[in-house]
Symmetry: D3
Subunit: 130 residues, 6 copies
């Protein structure tokens, strides 16, 4: 499947290499994971994605661990195994404890259940929520 | 659609009324919203859901606002409008600011995007993530 | 939105009219609901969908009520409000009781919850399930 | 990934062991599958999930095979491979035939197709379905 | 729900106004639709989203109508009614005919059906597709 | 898992064999992939699916490559790995270039992101889109 074949740094285009370099500098690592190597097939999307991630995942009104927990909850709901694995690792690096992971999972499971109960019972929006 | 017709307190079964009472006591309110009135059609599910919510949404390793943010992120990903409305209101009551809402939404949007990029490019799990 | 404007019998193409006629004959009704009027914009898809539904929803190893329950469970999981409304009505016509609806919903809610728990905990397939 | 590492009976907490014991007693088996070993990381969620499953999947207005078929249909729609494998095995144990599985799959496939046709054509709810 | 209250041009922050201005210039319109007014609550996300859309939806290896068709197919699969309405209008403006819409919908419906058949039957990847 | 065990031509029922034969004739190949071997467990669904695919994926108002791109975008959104692999291969055979794949993926990623932004901000339908 040539369209998704990961591209190593040595084989990347200059635009993709610039993103590789910035990821390694910002994250203080000497390699990038397969997600970036795959996106190197489309340097414009790679660059746009990296710029967005840097901006969105930075500390703000929410701390980085909370942002990672939200990221994992979405990835679990969408069934993206790679995303769950990589962001669980990232979250752990940023301070997520096993208890935090377990509570995030419990909320995620329950939200998925009640989302469907609401939908199936066709619950009308309360006046107070309009 | 009689299966989903909300049931008011006066018309509820004793088992459903007990749940109504507990919700009003715990939340210090004098009514419950439509979700619970709909679930009153199935008192066993109503009770089970309420017991789970009380346990799961309580403060723990994660604070209540963080739990609500995760709940909203899942509900947005599943497209449950009622759930988004009711839990956004709940989150605001517990201290969520507009900035926190906006950052949660930005993470949720980006996670949905990158989940699909990972899936479409068929990114293989890095050795370091196994 | 002209692409989705429902087409009434009087304005339908001959191929679409033939499907209208067959639906009314098979179901012993004198009108069809909006789904079919919308599909009349694409008579080939309308015909194909009707032929499939006739074949798939007919009694077989599963009875018609069980098939409708499965249909609703899927529609709830996908969040299709129209589909839930129309198939809940169809199921009731075929003998679904409120208790059956409630139990289907409880299973649907729980399956959505456990699906996500399995995914988030990255549960490996047991040897016995391979 | 320590957060999801399955926990064997010998290493489980007393609360988790109590759930292991009840599962083995109720199901008349001498081991539990990986789902439960993973949930043993969060004994409260493990207990809550097991209590719900016992209650929801028990015979009622719907027989156990019908409940498993609904469970599989939801799991297929959500793309949870482990869930499909484990509940297909459970369903077979409870009496599901290959013909029943095939018909459930045909309904699930068609519901997923028509859910999207309804959504894309923006079909308005018929007066008779309100 | 203050978090989602649309913000009109007159009330927008300077950063949001700059995006409003650019949208109106590029699209040669004198107003923007509600999506942008809602995003004006979070000018950083508004700007990022608009920059991405300009770049991604521009003509390239795929023409603009094809890109809109893909956008609609995804929105249908996710059940986003607003997105379907706005991008169907955009696609029509760019030259999508009713026949193109109907064929896109037929493919979308069938892909959703076969996606589930593949998943439920747990089809193993052919050697030739690895 | 006998329900999903692929059935080879030599072991297939006459109805399934007729579909095998037609696929091999139409596609000018001497084997079929695992999807069809799995569906051979349910010859009626196999035949119906093949007839639909032949009709829907044929050239029309949209060319075959555009149809495959839409198919992949849906499969990515649903997370169906097998479907992505098989239709990416099919699309490449019909003329999809790596640039077309990359642009389809960029649109798919962005649509998934904006679908959720619209949903979470509860954007009201503009008058002009009704």
């Amino acid at each position: 499947m040539p369209y998704a074949k990961p591209i190593e740094y040595a084989d990347a285009s200059p635009e993709a290499r610039a993103v590789f370099d910035d990821i390694m500098t910002v994250r203080k690592v000497d390699t990038v994971n397969n997600f970036w190597k795959s996106l190197a097939n489309d340097p414009a999307t790679m660059r746009r994605t990296w710029e967005s991630i840097k901006e969105i995942m930075a500390p703000g009104a929410l701390d980085p661990v909370t942002k990672e927990l939200i990221y994992i909850a979405v990835s679990v709901t969408n069934g993206c195994e790679y995303c769950i694995a990589s962001h669980t690792a990232a979250a752990a690096n940023k301070g997520m404890t096993p208890e935090m992971f377990a509570e995030m999972m419990a909320v995620t499971g329950m939200a998925n259940e009640t989302n469907r109960l609401v939908t199936g019972y066709r619950v009308a929006l309360d006046e107070s929520l309009r």
